[in-house]
């Protein structure tokens, strides 16, 4: 039964060892980090199997009964998120090691493991204050990763990232204070019991809490009008870190799904009208911002970052419907967009480490121009939502789920027009990077400001280990498309379970002695 907490405890114990015992030897740190991540994947698979039968497993920390102690809750949704995190982490970690990113600054692996601990903790907890704690863990660890290896632009962007998210944390505290003051509890299941009992005309405080929490989660999910931090952060983060961050925005989306469904969701008289009504327009604008950003980008990394913003918009448009079919679509899109964004960043890293800048201007083609072009093409197709990869199916699922009158016009227009701008943006970027470059016949390398060693590195072809992570990511997207039927069936069960508030509450609050 202790399986549930392993995704937190495992990295939490491994990270200090890596950071403090193995800090003088990168190889040792790499071995430990990879071993830990492999274990995490194994544990995550185990948890997914445990959760697959639809049972909601509860882990009561300190053996205190809920709602007085903290509980971890494992259901299909949290198992899915942990598994996604673990698989993504594995891909990113191999890339970071193969490209040598991890050795370009201090404490990469320790921070990486702490980051995994924070993300997994956020997905598993059944307590909103504990969620805050893990938001802090993943924020500070991600800040460390974000400014890994330094540089003026990166540190500057990192400051914006951390300030913006600390502001979010402050608001989180205000929201939690309000919530506690109006309900007297912090346990999600207990909140789900108490809040529906508040009459609709006396719910002002709870409504404030619900709204503030949504803004807090929106900061993480990069939703308009609090998405401003994301493009600069992702664009300036080390590419493997940006790839790992693909799951960070999903933490925000997950929190909205969990809290605003189970606690404030449909059927709660005081708050049910809030989330959907405000989330929907915000998500629509987010799609537009993402799409315009992709088309207007002057550099490759911001372009990808804006495509992430757009994908979050699409995801949250589906979330905003707060229904089982729409949530199924949202979850499918969530898994898809996580891998799609990660792939893009990893591929961009392979290309950009062989170019002198990520400005979208033609330069002498890098080695393996064809290979990189093919990889970029595939990942861009996925992100823009073109077949045959999972993006197209995800988009169809979302569109299909958003048929309600009043929604359909805005949602469909935004998603379809957004797709078009995204496609055009990617096409322009790709044709400049990979096609137009081939027209340059100058053999003058723009290596004036590079040392010979750097020039050598820039001309070195990518090794199999460097390309493999991106390829595995693309394979995930292909698999997600081919096995869309079974995956969607599982996700449908997942969202049904998520909307089964009574089931969740009973599992957590019953004095059940399943141990």
């Amino acid at each position: 039964m202790h399986w549930i907490i392993l995704p937190v405890v495992l990295p939490a114990l491994l990270a200090p060892l890596i950071g403090f015992v193995m800090r003088h030897d990168i190889t040792l740190a790499r071995v430990a980090s990879v071993a830990g991540t492999v274990l995490l994947v194994a544990v995550a698979i185990g948890l997914a199997v445990m959760a697959a039968d639809g049972t909601t497993h509860v882990y009561r920390l300190g053996n205190w009964p809920a709602p007085f102690g903290i509980v971890l809750v494992l259901d299909r949704l949290s198992a899915l998120m942990v598994l996604l995190t673990a698989v993504l982490a594995m891909i990113v970690l191999i890339h970071a090691i193969a490209t040598g990113w991890d050795a370009r600054g201090r404490h990469f692996h320790a921070l990486f493991q702490f980051q995994l601990m924070g993300i997994c903790g956020a997905f598993l907890t059944g307590d909103v204050f504990n969620l805050f704690v893990f938001f802090e863990v993943l924020l500070i660890a991600s800040y460390g990763l974000m400014i890994h290896s330094g540089g003026k632009e990166r540190v500057r962007a990192g400051l914006q990232y951390v300030v913006m998210n600390l502001a979010g944390s402050t608001l989180f505290l205000f929201a939690l204070g309000t919530l506690y003051a109006s309900t007297g509890t912090l346990n999600i299941a207990d909140l789900a019991v108490r809040i529906p009992q508040i009459p609709a005309d006396e719910a002002a405080l709870v409504r404030v809490a619900a709204m503030l929490l949504m803004i807090v989660f929106a900061v993480k999910a990069a939703l308009f009008p609090v998405q401003f931090w994301l493009p600069a952060t992702y664009a300036n983060a080390p590419a493997p870190v940006a790839a790992l961050f693909a799951i960070m925005t999903k933490v925000g989306a997950y929190a909205i799904l969990r809290v605003h469904t189970v606690v404030f969701g449909p059927g709660v008289p005081g708050t049910e009208d809030l989330a959907g009504a405000w989330l929907f327009p915000a998500a629509i604008v987010t799609i537009a911002i993402g799409a315009f950003g992709v088309l207007g980008a002057r550099r490759l990394m911001p372009l990808i970052a804006f495509s992430v913003v757009g994908s979050m918009g699409t995801l949250l448009v589906a979330v905003a419907a707060f229904s089982v079919p729409a949530t199924t679509a949202a979850l499918y899109y969530l898994v898809h967009s996580t891998f799609a964004a990660a792939c893009l960043f990893l591929i961009a890293d392979l290309v950009l480490s062989r170019r002198s800048s990520d400005t979208l201007r033609p330069q002498t083609p890098t080695v393996q121009n064809g290979l990189f072009a093919a990889l970029f093409f595939a990942a861009a197709i996925a992100m823009a939502g073109m077949p045959p990869l999972s993006g197209f199916l995800g988009k169809l699922l979302v569109l299909d789920a958003l048929r309600a009158p009043g929604i359909i016009g805005w949602a469909w227009t935004a998603i379809l027009a957004g797709s078009l701008l995204t496609i055009v943006g990617f096409v322009r970027a790709g044709s400049t990077l990979f096609w137009k470059s081939t027209a340059l016949v100058t053999s003058e390398p723009d290596a004036a400001d590079k040392t010979p060693a750097e020039v050598d590195a820039a001309q070195a072809p990518a090794t199999a280990m460097q390309v493999a992570p991106a390829m595995v990511g693309l394979a995930m997207l292909a698999g997600l498309a081919i096995f869309a039927g079974p995956v969607a069936a599982y996700l449908e069960d997942t969202s049904t379970q998520l909307f089964d508030r009574a089931g969740y509450v009973n599992a957590v609050l019953s004095p059940a002695e399943e141990r």
Binding site: L17, L61, T183, A204, M211
Partner: protein, 952 residues
């Protein structure tokens, strides 16, 4: 019919699987590569021919596998007459193109890539025509856009190729996206995405209120793909592709996908006024306009491209008429257009290949030099012109016949006249193709001396013109397939008879007018061309480029205005949004009645409050002076600590005061490296905005706090108070909450502290490697330095305080479980004691006297806390389950040992380690910046100084 089902899957998959071959086989040579491309095509074609007899008998072959049932998407295929016609065209022409391209591509072109793209395209196109599920059809539809993008941009070093590819993808991609919407609506009305079901639901669809949106969206897809006005402009630019691609995609297959779709949906969507006026009118306009532009194009491929646009318009118009006879004519013309147009494209490719130019003005007289090519090109062009005994004549007659009795907005003349003009222009440009390229005198200024190409290159077009003649002379041979396809289109059982002579009909007269008029027009081409060249007309590419540039500029504007990197603006928006939305949420409901009254305000409290307010306002006013601001922050922190103490929260007060102290000390040290003043950045207007927002936020938080302090609520902390001693073994409920009830939170928080230490350390290293380091080195910190960095008094006092502080720390640590205190505060107290030593005697001196690495201390702390939690697994309890016992050792009183204390030790170590690591990082920066290191406890040795003075 399930017999052929599995074969259908194989047909659909063959090109995709086969696409793996050419990329590999190119290593065995170009011919092997071409053959390996032909293999999957031949396999698919053979299987198609196996199924053909049944289809021609009127059977429909189906096959289905579930893909995404939640969406209604299944991998289902069906083959009826229409599908058979298109599939044969795709595969048949695909084979010819494979052969042609083998000879057309030069040695420098990556042939493996070309054939791979070609097969991918072939598979996608094949998928469109045999899909039995409209969502699956969409998948293939978008795949054709993507694969054609790759094919058009095949010569990636040429700007025309890249631009043409982008334009094609933008236009057809946009249409495809619109079509997604249309198909989803259609499926929703019909209740199924299966084409066979939808085809049965025509009446329901046409009477639905969603019919018009669905129709428009689907037609957008079809019109963009089939290059209908006003989306026709991408097709000529796609001609930058290698000629085999133009012949295959842009005449025979892809551009017909839109026509195919309209034919496929004909039973469902046609028969309404909306259909007639949108589709037929668009087709008619496109036909005339395309033909007109074609006449004045000098580039051979551009001429053919616009003629293709024109013929696609013709097909669209026929489908738009909505009559069965028109549908038959459309199907027949699809076949005929395919044969002559593909042959013409290949001819143009041969001319280009041999003479190195496609400019009609530089050609002429080629009939003597390239007799075979001349023959092929002429036959095909005459067919295109609609001259009897060639197949183009037959279907054009049928078209004119249909046009002659179609009313348009109650005008009986509009359509026939326009159709005749279209035919006339068509004759003119066809004749021009022959006369200006092949006829006339032989020139001596060709860029390259032309001659007929090798057999492999002219074999494919030759085969096609043979078909042109065979069908033209014996049209009944095509009756079988036309019947099957037309029946499939209309959903009716048709038996058309194709024949050459229909008697003297209006159509015949229209034809005669067209041919004669066309010849006259060609004769006048010279002067007309000058007028055309002088006439102003919109240039589609320029408009498209300007539009694209405008959208990009708009996107940049939107993006860069918003994301300008100004953190103050981001925060302002965030805060304003929080206040605004919080207010909206609050105002839309009410509150329960307050249950508490206000407490009386005592004078001391009032004074404290005023101090707090004054200090806060002063920070705002004086924040440009960093040092003053820091001092004021200290006042605020102390006031808050006092407030906690007053409100009976001694633990909080203790923690707050030690946190304040440590923070202020570290900030003081950090301040040394920063400018003394912060830059003035905000103009007054911004300051005003920020002030309004800040006041709103402050007021909001105050109101919120007021609202909940006025109300009693039953909370879970009652349970904590009740169970603290019994269950947690401690009487200080705050500490028990921290290390037991919510020890998991504390575990997370100490990790945050530990990570913060790590991050600061890592950041310090990164900074010292970067440009910031150079600035540090060059900054002179000396002028405002105290002459006595390590004053004697301070050194002495801190030494004396050290053991006292350590004992206090230990005391606070030990009493924590029962009285205010605990590992967190203890860690801070000890850290303060050590910080004092550093401040007094400098880092290096103190550093030499420490025993444990700070990194290790943090690591140890986290691991101890973690292992304490894991330890409870041994007793089968969950993580962090506490256990305690009472121990009696004789000299001292009975005391308690709790696992919580071990956990608290972890907290203690982490806190201490993190603070120290931060200090270490600061001192590293100081030393980097040139601070000198003293060996002794003070800068000078008082004793030594006296001796020196004595010596003097």
């Amino acid at each position: 019919m399930d017999d052929g089902g599995p074969l259908l899957f194989l047909i659909a998959l063959a090109p995709f699987i086969g696409a793996l071959l050419p990329g590999l086989m190119i290593r065995a040579g170009r011919t092997v590569c071409a053959i390996s491309t032909a293999v999957p095509t031949v396999i698919a074609l053979t299987m198609l021919m196996v199924l053909a007899p049944a289809v021609l008998r009127g059977e429909v072959i189906q096959a289905e596998v579930d893909w995404l049932p939640q969406l209604g998407l299944s991998a289902s295929f069906f083959l009826d007459g229409l599908g058979l016609l298109f599939a044969s065209m795709i595969l048949g022409v695909g084979l010819l193109i494979t052969l042609y391209a083998r000879f057309y591509l030069s040695g420098e072109d990556p042939m493996g890539q070309f054939y791979t793209y070609l097969l991918l395209f072939q598979g996608a196109m094949l998928g469109i025509v045999i899909s039995d599920n409209i969502l699956l059809l969409l998948v293939f539809w978008e795949l054709t856009s993507l694969s054609s993008f790759l094919l058009i941009g095949y010569w990636k070093h040429l700007p025309e190729g890249r631009q043409g590819a982008r334009m094609a993808l933008a236009v057809t991609g946009a249409g495809g996206l619109a079509m997604i919407g249309g198909m989803l609506i259609l499926g929703n009305i019909a209740g199924s995405y299966n084409l066979t079901d939808i085809l049965q639901a025509g009446d329901a669809i046409r009477s639905s209120e969603w019919y018009l949106p669905a129709l428009i969206l689907i037609l957008l897809g079809a019109f963009t793909k089939s290059a209908q006005f006003p989306f026709h402009f991408w097709l000529p630019h796609a001609m930058a592709a290698p000629t085999p691609v133009s012949a295959y995609l842009h005449s025979a297959t892809m551009v017909k996908a839109g026509v195919f779709l309209m034919a496929r949906m004909w039973p469902v969507l046609s028969g309404t006024d909306a259909w007639f006026y949108i589709v037929a009118t668009t087709g008619l306009v496109t036909m005339v306009l395309g033909a007109l532009i074609a006449l004045f194009k000098d580039d051979l491929k551009a001429l053919l491209a616009f003629s293709t646009v024109s013929h696609l318009g013709l097909l669209t118009m026929l489908l738009g008429f909505g009559t069965q006879a028109a549908a038959v004519a459309a199907v027949f013309h699809i076949i005929n257009h395919l044969t002559f147009k593909a042959a013409l494209f290949m001819t143009a490719g041969i001319v280009d290949h041999e003479t190195h130019t496609r400019d009609i003005k530089r050609l002429g007289g080629l009939r003597h030099l390239m007799p075979i090519t001349f023959l092929i090109g002429t036959v095909a062009a005459l067919s295109m012109a609609g001259i009897p005994l060639f197949n183009g004549f037959l279907s054009k007659e049928m078209m004119l016949e249909e046009a002659s009795h179609t009313d348009w907005f109650s005008s009986p003349y509009a359509v026939p006249v326009m159709a005749t003009i279209g035919a006339l222009l068509s004759v003119a440009y066809s004749f021009r193709f022959v006369s200006h390229v092949f006829l006339g005198p032989v020139r001596d200024d060709y860029p390259h001396k032309p001659h007929d190409p090798p057999f492999g290159m002219w074999a494919a077009p030759a085969l096609l013109v043979v078909l042109v003649i065979v069908i033209g002379v014996a049209p009944f041979l095509a009756e079988g397939i036309v019947t099957a396809a037309a029946s499939a289109v209309t959903g009716a059982d048709l038996h058309p008879h194709l024949k050459i002579w229909h008697g003297v009909t209006p159509a015949l007269w229209m034809s005669v007018i067209a041919v004669v008029g066309g010849a006259v027009l060609l004769a006048l081409h010279g002067p007309l061309d000058k007028i055309w060249a002088a006439a102003p007309r919109p240039e589609a590419k320029a408009i498209f480029d300007r539009l694209m540039a405008a959208i990009v500029a708009l996107s940049r504007g939107i993006t860069e205005i918003g994301h300008n990197g100004a953190i103050s603006r981001y925060l302002a928006i965030f805060t304003a949004a929080s206040v605004g939305l919080g207010w909206v949420a609050y105002a839309s409901s009410g509150l329960s009645a307050p249950t508490r009254g206000l407490l009386p305000v005592e004078p001391v409290i009032a004074v404290g409050w005023i101090m707090l307010v004054v200090a806060t306002v002063s920070v705002v006013v004086m924040h440009h002076h960093r040092f003053r601001a820091l001092v004021l922050l200290g006042i605020i922190g102390l006031s808050i600590s006092a407030g906690f103490a007053y409100l009976s929260a001694p633990d909080l007060a203790l923690t707050q005061i030690s946190v304040e102290t440590v923070t202020i000390m570290l900030l003081l040290l950090a301040l040394h490296f920063m400018p003394k003043l912060t830059p003035r950045e905000s103009p007054t207007g911004l300051k005003f905005r920020d002030a309004v927002i800040a006041l709103g936020a402050g007021g909001g938080v105050g109101a919120l706090a007021y609202a909940f302090m006025m109300r009693d609520i039953e909370t879970i902390s009652d349970y904590h108070v009740a169970n603290s001693y019994e269950g947690g073994g401690g009487t200080n409920v705050v500490n028990v909450i921290l290390v037991d009830f919510r020890g998991y939170d504390t575990f997370g928080e100490i990790i945050v502290l530990g990570i913060a230490g790590l991050v600061i350390y890592a950041l310090m290293h990164a900074l010292l490697d970067g440009p910031a380091a150079r600035r540090l080195k060059n900054t002179d910190f000396s002028q405002d330095r105290s002459r006595d960095r390590h004053p004697l008094m301070m050194v002495v006092v801190t030494r004396v305080l050290m053991p006292i502080a350590l004992v206090v720390g230990l005391y606070i640590f030990l009493r924590g479980h029962n009285e205010p205190g605990g590992g967190f505060v203890a860690g801070l107290v000890v850290a303060i004691a050590l910080l004092m030593q550093y401040m007094a005697s400098g880092f290096a001196w103190t550093q030499e006297r420490k025993r444990i690495e700070y990194h290790t201390m943090i690591g140890l702390g986290v691991v101890i806390a973690g292992l304490t939690g894991v330890g409870s697994w041994l007793s089968g309890s969950p993580f962090l389950t506490s256990a305690y016992t009472y121990v009696h050792l004789p000299p001292i009183e009975e005391f308690e040992l709790a696992t919580a204390m071990l956990f608290d030790l972890g907290v203690f170590l982490t806190v201490l380690g993190a603070v120290m690591l931060m200090l270490y990082s600061l001192s590293r920066i100081a030393r980097f910046a040139g601070a000198t290191v003293n060996e002794g406890p003070m800068d000078y040795d008082p004793g030594l100084k006296d001796e020196q003075e004595a010596e003097r």
